[in-house]
Symmetry: C3
């Protein structure tokens, strides 16, 4: 499965833009804690998360970075990880990821996690922030607000959040909360007030369909690119309601406004590719699926994702959460899978080499730079302000 050639070399040297990831845990992890972070499920008594594609990928591709042999046993892996300590582990994997910029979703943190700045510092590169809108809305509710002021207060809070330095995008997990089979119309003010009244009385997470619609339309008003979780995730998602094709009517109504980035997409990456092919504002990635399917299958997923996708519409993300192994594995899988795919087409004379190299640079870095602009589009700098590598 491993091949090599000019496309591999180019991708190895390319500082990726990881346009959607999370922080790494800032604590040493027990074996159980580490294992539970390896899976979108949980650490079940009888099924070790190591006994999965991603578990084997960690033992194969991460163990050597901890000075262990390839395919090291799980117990050795966990012990060595603890021995090195979380700072050194994070430094090694985040550096190895070879990213120029990380765009970090800061709205989900059940564990103690690196801030974007800490993640960037550990990697010796830049980091930007992605603001999760559900978290803003829930903070507004938690602080207390009258139902008829909810819309305005949420809007103001979101505007303030995205004005923070380094914020480049907003994100919604509407896929988890209601799914995408929503009324595509912008809800009227009175509807929002009424829905807010019920939610504020009831409390809990934002799951009201009117308020989720309102959140998506608020994203349109904010004007920043909107990242949307689609497809694969944890047990909280209803997969069939996270099919991005369900967004079509909403995409028609919001055409000409903000870019919409469909995250993960698997197993609906072909549906996402269709949307990216016919809607100017739609982009996709296959983050999360890269490290979960692992080096043995991420090429196949990329092949499907790229079947009809315009080459300026695919981005790279790891969607790594918690363990920095995933920031590294995502990058490794993307580079290897994409390079294998492109080099084979060059070798078969289907693609010219120059075209293949452009596609590699576009999807790994330049599409994100064009879309997000500064600071994503600026050269990565180290803590002294010097560019960390030629870009």
């Amino acid at each position: 499965m491993a091949a090599s050639g000019p496309v591999h070399e180019a991708l190895a040297a390319l500082p990726l833009v990881d346009h959607h990831c999370h922080g790494a845990v800032t604590a040493d992890l027990s074996g159980t804690e580490f294992a539970s972070l390896l899976t979108e499920g949980a650490a079940w008594p009888d099924v070790s998360p190591f006994d999965s594609p991603v578990g084997l990928a960690v033992r194969r591709h991460c163990a050597p970075l901890l000075d262990l042999p390839r395919h090291a046993p799980p117990a050795d892996y966990v012990a060595r990880r603890a021995e090195l300590g979380w700072r050194e582990v994070n430094r090694r994997f985040l550096t190895a990821a070879g990213a120029g910029v990380f765009c970090v979703d800061t709205g989900y943190a059940p564990h103690p996690l690196t801030s974007p700045a800490e993640l960037g510092a550990a990697a010796g590169t830049a980091a930007c922030e992605v603001v999760r809108l559900e978290q803003i809305a829930e903070s507004v509710a938690a602080r207390g607000v009258e139902a008829d002021e909810y819309a305005a207060v949420f809007r103001t809070a979101a505007e303030e959040a995205v004005r923070r330095p380094g914020v480049v995008a907003v994100k919604s997990v509407a896929a988890y909360r209601t799914g995408f089979a929503l009324d595509p119309e912008r809800p009227a003010g009175a509807e929002v007030t009424e829905a807010a009244r019920h939610w504020l009385a009831r409390g809990g997470r934002l799951t009201d369909p009117v308020l989720v619609r309102h959140l998506l339309w608020t994203a349109v008003e904010l004007g920043l690119p909107l990242q949307l979780h689609t497809g694969f995730g944890d047990a909280d998602v209803r997969l069939h309601r996270a099919d991005p094709a369900l967004l079509t009517d909403w995409l028609h109504r919001t055409a000409g406004t903000i870019p919409v980035l469909l995250l993960h997409c698997w197993p609906y990456h072909r549906q996402a590719a269709y949307l990216a092919a016919v809607f100017e504002q739609v982009y996709l990635d296959v983050g999360l699926a890269l490290h979960y399917t692992g080096p043995a299958r991420c090429r196949a997923v990329l092949e499907e994702a790229l079947e009809i996708t315009p080459f300026r519409k695919l981005l790279y993300s790891s969607d790594a959460y918690g363990v920095s192994e995933f920031h590294h594995l995502g990058a490794l899988c993307f580079r290897q899978g994409l390079a294998d795919l492109l080099q084979e087409r060059v070798d078969a004379d289907e693609f010219g080499l120059a075209d293949a190299l452009r596609i590699a640079a576009w999807t790994g870095r330049d599409n994100a730079r064009r879309l997000y602009g500064p600071p994503v589009s600026e050269p990565a700098r180290d803590s002294s302000g010097r560019p960390t590598r030629k870009v």
Copy 2:
């Protein structure tokens, strides 16, 4: 990816039946006009349709037919195309397609297009016609009709249309208008009248669910094979509502009547294959997906489409529209993808060579001949009435 062997030779020599395509534009095209015809999206300012799988396929496989080097730059391609003029361009690509017959959907023509006869003449081969039923219905409405006469007048108009010489099938774009999650029952006359009353008062395209159902049931009465758009198309489709599995109840009710040909199908080609495997009257193709996914991936799509499909149930179509490059590319992708797939199975001793050759001839030509009968099943003749090639 390019291989060779007896199956490749057989498919290269086989005059395909392209059982569903459209005309080619009868005008010289500017760069922007040409680019906009390359995509199911639109020609967006920042994303050239050339930067897509089909764009690279055009530069790789079509440029040489215009006397350009493989992978010629887009500007050179467009300039050379203009230099040659549309007649010569069409002649070259349509001839290169190596089709014995083209079945041409004449019901969608936002550009000036070749008629079936003109397409056939440019290719030096035969051409038949496919009548689009929505177009008939909308013509009936445009000419003026009373609501209570709509059903009868539409039926008569459709009967007249299919009696035209060379008409071999009807087509519906119900997938675009309502999707397939329709009540499967034949609507009662009073329902049709009531729905017609509203539509005729409102005007516009035929999108009423009762009238779309009525149109599908009218197709059953006409008795000709019915081609149905499913899956992939332009931004007007709601992909998830164009999943052909949604037709199951209707297929049960219409079993034993007309053949139903599921067009395109991607990304629901496995669902279409299931229907073809369990309903005697159901057939499928992966037209449109062939040239849009391109030579690098059309084999993979064919492999999935053929996983469980009976070999008498898959047909070839290009679904080319507008640019004759697509009539050529569809044929090239089909021949190469299918030959690679079959030859590899012969080489692995999974299929006997004789079986592989039969499958190639069936899917490329004979299934369509058997299904449509004359004139599709007659040898292609040139304008002097002589068979154009051994068939």
Copy 3:
């Protein structure tokens, strides 16, 4: 496509647990009868079931076991099958399957079929039973019961059925009857009585949504593993309603109770893999799809099914029905597809050999043993009580 190596050798020697199959016909079959058993469709006049992927697989891989050359013509195949007689044919294929245990669904028998004991005897191995709950419910209705006693009588009948020696699981075909888009809640007693009243008055198959939900919740109370048909089947299924993702809400409510085994899954095997990755109690197989897609494609299906599936969550089944060719072909396809996939990863140094061998043993045998316990987990014994092979 055929490769070899240590994983192939290990899988060739492994006595598989075929955790879901049906009996083989105990009668000699005419050509038409045999052909009709080759397809999930029917034996149509113009489309021979031999002209399909499974038909070619039978001629390639089954003909030699009947002393015919590979790729023998259908007529020769049918004649030789008749000449040998059904007992000898079954003995040859069932022995060749190399199963240690067959788990036989006894609830669907439109043909005269081997009992589990007869199947085991013909194979020289053990056989267990899977009780189909719809069949129990319909027997209860057929024997006559008052509506307000239906729930209790069904429950008692199901308890009695699963106490029979050798019963290891229950099965539901809810996918066929209503699909999975059901209210996930346990229905109240009064609802069940009311629904039973209508059903008992109306007769026919159990298709009432309340009673299907009640049946699934009764399975939870029985405490045995529950096998669920999902995805691919005959024309009676509505494929899109058999997507296992639709079960998510029900799986949340039943977490911590019984294991749920998603059968077949194709073309929703990625959706099933997602569920197996995030729900502790969920397992899957790709039975039925193995022999229907055949040796040329079952590896591809397995690759997709294993993209994210924990390796303790995939099981082997043939879902063979009627012709013992399918018990053999399922096993052959599984062994070859899985071995090719694993050996290639070992060769690429993605998986260690020891890991690959564990995965082969787990998925082919040990996951089923762990899940079902005795008698599945006991060594297979012949009719004299001696273990038939080292396990």
